[in-house]
Symmetry: C2
Subunit: 247 residues, 2 copies
């Protein structure tokens, strides 16, 4: 939290850490796909509710983990772009993440409601943490959109809300990672009779969990490290008179 002017070597470090973060994020999605695709029976929609569930972990890891992280990273990964396109990209990626999340939620609820007999929803700690993360995400989207993409909002309001938007954005992301970890664990316990003998599937699930921890740590580092903060560009100046001192 000391200096905030990026030196060439700190930007070089940023590129390396950013690249590793992307690779870890992509690996999580691929491994999640192979877990549900290979070990849990593949994919179907409402015709086979038990298999429809498998969309839930896959789409959530794309939406609430990979896209959510990347949407936060946009301001730092593309530091030399102008502010306005970055804001729109941030909103579009988050919007995409939300679409994946809604379909993932439908898959989870369907897999309970369409089972014979139907199984209860929303009773595990995973579901409580996950719903909290999704609600926080949706509120952030509404407030963020209103504050920064609606024309005519007062500058003082925009800059007062910014640290709040950033804090709850990061909190929501960490909550999404916590929801993923609890979700992975409960599905592992529910679906593997031999979890305790650590078969390959169990190692795969635990490794996805550890990669989620690494990805979460890297994303939070990249978005909070003051050295990596985006600096205002000369071209921003006109824009900045309308949207000051955001991220």
């Amino acid at each position: 939290m000391e200096s905030s002017s990026p030196s060439p070597s700190s930007l070089n470090n940023f590129r390396i850490v950013y690249l590793i973060t992307q690779m870890v994020g992509a690996t999580i999605v691929i491994l999640m796909g192979s877990w549900v695709g290979v070990h849990l029976g593949g994919f179907a929609w409402t015709s086979r509710p038990a298999i429809e569930f498998n969309w839930h972990p896959l789409l959530m890891s794309i939406g609430m983990i990979f896209l959510y992280g990347n949407s936060m990273l946009v301001y730092r990964g593309f530091r030399y772009a102008r502010k306005k396109p970055l804001k729109i990209t941030h909103a579009v990626i988050h919007g995409l993440a939300f679409v994946f999340t809604v379909v993932a939620l439908v898959a989870a609820f369907d897999s309970h409601n369409l089972a014979t007999p139907p199984r209860p929803n929303m009773y595990t700690l995973h579901s409580w943490i996950g719903l909290t993360a999704v609600i926080l995400f949706a509120l952030q989207y509404v407030f963020g959109f209103t504050a920064y993409l609606f024309p005519g909002v007062r500058d003082s309001l925009r800059s007062t809300y910014m640290p709040v938007h950033v804090f709850f954005g990061i909190l929501g992301f960490i909550l999404a990672v916590a929801a993923a970890l609890t979700g992975l664990l409960e599905k592992a316990i529910f679906s593997m009779q031999n979890y305790s003998s650590l078969p390959p599937q169990a190692v795969l699930v635990n490794m996805i969990g550890m990669l989620l921890v690494v990805y979460g740590g890297l994303v939070v580092f990249l978005v909070t490290e003051p050295m990596y903060k985006r600096k205002a560009l000369p071209e921003d100046v006109m824009l900045l008179t309308h949207s000051p001192s955001s991220q």
Copy 2:
């Protein structure tokens, strides 16, 4: 991440949030105690391994959650104290947290190894995340102690290491919260046949999990909000020539 000079009103806010944080932390420990004490059969040591396990959640919530959080908060809760006593208090509370953690680990391993037949250790995602948190905690302790309480370490080394120490300290705390959430969930699934009908015990467990999320969020907010950063005192000046620009 804007201003860093605390105004009277920001310090007033700090006191209120700090108080709420302590109340939430204490509530977690009390509810955890009543869960394992009332619903999971109380406490014993090696004579009854299944019951010995109950020390694990209780001692971990005291050590890795309540004390860990409070040890980080020491620099901000007692901002007007001199630096040296704060450093020693930080080390002592973390040391105490480590003692609770070690006994909690012994209780968990005993409950598996002394069962008839013995049950396997370290196979769930909870155990992998938890062990990572404990190892990170121990490394932080060794490096922090060496850097800041050993005399004669170069000032430049101390101040270079500070942001690393702070980052991994917060990461370790968040990991400890994630470990607590996964641990709560797996114990709930393993111990409740009727988790899905949300009996009072299930609501209690899920509420402890939600309070952990709130406590984690509040602690991270209090230790990262720049307004609440401790300022150097006049009496620190002599001390500061030996240990510059730490938290």
